[in-house]
């Protein structure tokens, strides 16, 4: 296999493969994607895969997510059916105090053009008949939806490969150096040289950054998710806490635990998640749970994406974020713009790694 490429992407998950695909649509230089295993062994293969905007705060971050959500229909046209469904997003609440919070949220978002409705109890039950009748209300946004993460990454890879992108999997990167304007990437199987280097290491971004003396402060936040057997379609929306996939299974879960890279599950969280799911949709009680899996969120220290150039290191780009599924079309587009046009169509300086006061260490 060739060892010199104009651009190397480290990490073939939803963010890395998303970048490789979007780049391959415009970029004529050679692109190589390196993954230490096969794509989707990380967060991209263990996610509820919401494409979610509303109640992401503050509003500029919600706006950022909205731009990405709006790209999804076009993405599906270009790379094929990824089972993207803009179902509308419901975030139910069961106490009147939350209504005040919901109204404030809706108001804050109206200012930046994101329509969030605060539904009454009747409106919620009309939209989602299976919802617990004790529901008091919900915030609702029509832009929210979900996607099949396995198809999304698979279709990104197929489209990228069709455009000439190379993938080298089960090939872990062990060292990176930069001399006279070029990067040398040492991996298990090979040593590569490239001009542009894109770090898309997901939950392992910190370790990847350290190879170049760069601080990419991404922590691990575990989520446990229950999967039911496939059921006849009955849930119409993506509900914050659960959704029904095209194949009919219901995915349930919204938990957060700091457990590093430990991807085991515990009956404690599984039973709590079951309580939450039944509290939202009581008619799920007879449905059988066939699996409980857990995924590790790649959570940047301040919770916001780290996207863009790395100051002080020419032609080095980083893309490390939570909500990688929602944001992958936008991040793919932005990184491609940085490489092709040297600037992005929307401002991303808020998301620059420089906010962590990073310079090249040592």
């Amino acid at each position: 296999m060739e060892t010199r490429f104009e651009t190397v992407v480290i990490g073939g998950g939803v963010v890395g493969s998303g970048i490789a695909y979007h780049l391959s649509e415009r970029y004529k230089g050679g692109v190589l994607v390196l993954d230490k295993k096969y794509p989707m062994t990380g967060t991209s293969g263990s996610t509820q895969a919401w494409v979610w905007v509303h109640n992401k705060t503050p509003s500029w971050y919600a706006e950022f997510n909205m731009y990405s959500a709006e790209l999804y229909p076009y993405l599906s046209k270009k790379i094929g059916d990824v089972e993207y469904k803009r179902t509308g997003g419901l975030s139910p609440f069961f106490s009147e105090e939350d209504r005040e919070k919901a109204l404030k949220l809706a108001e804050a978002y109206r200012e930046i053009g994101i329509k969030i409705k605060v539904l009454s109890r009747e409106e919620v039950l009309e939209k989602e008949p299976s919802m617990n009748p004790e529901v008091v209300g919900a915030t609702y946004s029509s832009i929210d939806g979900n996607v099949n993460p396995f198809r999304l990454v698979d279709m990104y890879m197929r489209a990228a490969k069709k455009n000439g992108v190379n993938y080298s999997t089960y090939n872990k990167v062990t060292g990176i150096e930069k001399q006279d304007g070029k990067f040398t990437v040492v991996s298990d199987k090979e040593t590569y040289e490239c001009k542009n280097l894109i770090l898309a290491g997901g939950t392992w971004s910190r370790e990847l950054g350290e190879m170049l003396g760069i601080n990419i402060p991404v922590n691990q936040l575990r989520g446990q998710i229950l999967v039911s057997e496939p059921l006849k379609p009955f849930l119409n929306h993506t509900i914050s806490g659960l959704r029904q996939a095209n194949n009919g299974e219901v995915l349930m879960g919204y938990s957060m635990e700091e457990k590093g890279f430990d991807r085991s599950t515990t009956l404690d969280v599984i039973q709590e998640t079951a309580n939450m799911a039944l509290h939202y949709v009581p008619s799920l009680k007879k449905a059988k749970i066939v699996r409980a899996f857990s995924g590790i969120r790649a959570m940047p220290e301040d919770g916001f994406p780290i996207i863009g150039k790395v100051p002080g290191v020419e032609n080095l780009y980083v893309a490390a974020t939570h909500s990688g599924v929602t944001l992958s079309p936008l991040i793919g587009t932005l990184i491609t713009e940085l490489i092709m046009d040297g600037e992005t169509s929307i401002p991303i300086d808020r998301y620059s790694i420089s906010r962590f006061g990073v310079g090249v260490k040592g």
Binding site: E229, P230, L231, K232, S283, L284, A287
Partner: protein, 107 residues
Amino acid sequence: MHIKDHPVLGKQLQEPVTIYFKDQPYQAYQQQTVAAALIANDIKKFGVSRKNIQDRGLFCSRGRCCSCYMTVNGEDHVRTCMTRVEEGMEIYPNLEDPEVRRDGNGD
């Protein structure tokens, strides 16, 4: 066909039980599983698969493969190889995904 007199274990089938498959009565015995009782009555097709609608029946009889899924007394996806017969049991083949809506407003 029930083995009334087993060559080694002798006459083991003592208390008869009536079960209903697709609303028809069939003869079973106390300690038999639903799957076994149906097979004794020459009913081997317990349901169909989801994607290609292929016939499914007993395979592992250890409660692992779920090929013996049937609807028993109103509950879907029961592992009939692990469920003992009871008098008056109502059994239907597993032909489609479970429907949750009807449980919601029922009991």
